[in-house]
């Protein structure tokens, strides 16, 4: 499957990294990329390295516990997300690799604070779309 399977609503279907990224999600793995020449890591994953211009990338696992940089609970969703609210958007730092996403629906903001620990897990939505979400750790 292609990248149109990523997230609640995908706005683009084609990307050099999209198919592999979705395949990994379906296997339960959240992955970014790392340049095999200069070692720069990327999340979101990139097919090319802006640091050394290499196109030789490898997939790296994003796992373990991260640090919650910030979050917000959204009460009014944009078009396509109106019935999805409330949901919590967040940015989590996994040892220098930052990941943007949502917290699991059953997490309340009262349990969250900037600087708290969080982890990521892959998720399959009711309509078959795949993605990842955060949980307090």
């Amino acid at each position: 499957m292609g990248f149109e399977k990523f997230g609640q609503i995908s706005f683009t279907a084609q990307s050099k990294v999209g198919d592999d990224f979705v395949d990994y999600l379906e296997k339960g793995e959240l992955r970014g990329t790392k340049c095999t020449k200069c070692g720069t890591t990327f999340f979101p994953p990139c097919a090319e390295c802006s640091n050394c211009l290499s196109e030789e990338m490898e997939w790296i696992k994003i796992e373990g516990t991260g640090n919650l940089i910030s979050f917000t609970e959204v009460n009014y969703g944009p078009t396509g997300f109106e019935n999805d609210v409330p949901y919590i958007l967040a940015l989590v730092d996994f040892d220098g690799v930052k990941v943007f996403g949502r917290f699991s629906k059953d997490v309340s903001t009262e349990k969250l604070a900037v600087g708290a620990s969080a982890k990521a897990e892959t998720v399959t939505y009711e309509d078959g779309q795949v993605g990842y979400q955060f949980l307090p750790a």
Binding site: S10, L89, A90, G101
Partner: protein, 384 residues
Amino acid sequence: MSKDVAIIGVGQSAFVRGYEGSIRELAFEAYSEAMKDAGITSKDIEASVIGSAPEYDKQRSPSGLMAEYLGLNPQPTFNVESVCSSSTTGLWLAYSMIKAGLYDPVVVLGFQKMSEITSADSQERMGRGADIMWESPFGTMMPAYYAMHAQGHFARYGTTEEDLALIRVKATSYGKINEKAVYRKELTVEQCLESAVVASPLKVFDCCANADGSSCMILASADKAKEISSKPVYVLGIGSGTASLTMTGRNTLYGLDCAKVAAKEAYEMAGLTPQDIDVAEVHDCFTIAEMMAYENLGFAEPGKGAELIRNRETYIGGKIPVNVDGGLLSKGHPIGATGGSQVRTIVLQLRGEAGDMQVPGAEIGLVHNIGGVGIYGNVIILGR
């Protein structure tokens, strides 16, 4: 200090909800005011720069339309877009063209008729000003991104929801006396705090008012400005910067790096410091954005922005009056027109023509205009 390029005319339409006319007619309002202000006609203009965020326009390539409607054929016209900072990016382009000796004078026109689409559609399109591959699929929108910056600022510096409400209260006190503002009502801190939460901790009244509007600036070389105008206002410094569009590339979520880069460049070019600024227009698309601007522009030390508003230092009579025209919060935020409107406010301030909103004796002014969630930052320092 550079005094090579001047602003010789400014204009702005009223910022309104649901403008009852076409975009060409909306643009004409600001254009006509600026041209009359400069005392010239379309045949005197050598090039035009048109700024708008095109996702709101049904018309494709609006610069062609505007050049025709405003009588600016056959001179060259350029379309620029940097979301909410499009018209100061236009100013940057006009400034560069004049400095290069290519065209002189140059008109910069910004416009946006946001009411052509619904508010939800508008949020969705603004959200797509962020990364559509990796962030939009989660249901992002502008208030949410700025809310994450507010949460980050609160956690790092102890800023509170009340501090943000104070910024909105200030905006409403000036929006009330600005005839061109869309939001003319005054609000109390309590009303701000009781308004519905859009994206925590930001509430309805932490968000700027969407509006339809247009703005116009006419720029000329110093020599030409002296020929044409009795009251030129000079561009003393100009700076521009960027930061990653994707939040994962940001160093912090409690300030905007693009603004810091732009400010440093503008201050250095002008040979001035934050203490030299008498009046400022900052990009307060949300209350937290004004708070971060205080710090990113050096009006307050990092983390001390809240003290400025608590002590009313950003009101007229304070140390550094900010957004004394109501700002984006109350004057309104028609994306493509906003930067030009900010510049107009400062030009009027420096000419002593700001009426009830006048900062007495203002000689040096600053404009801070941000595109997207801190993707693009433009800072312009103006002086007589």
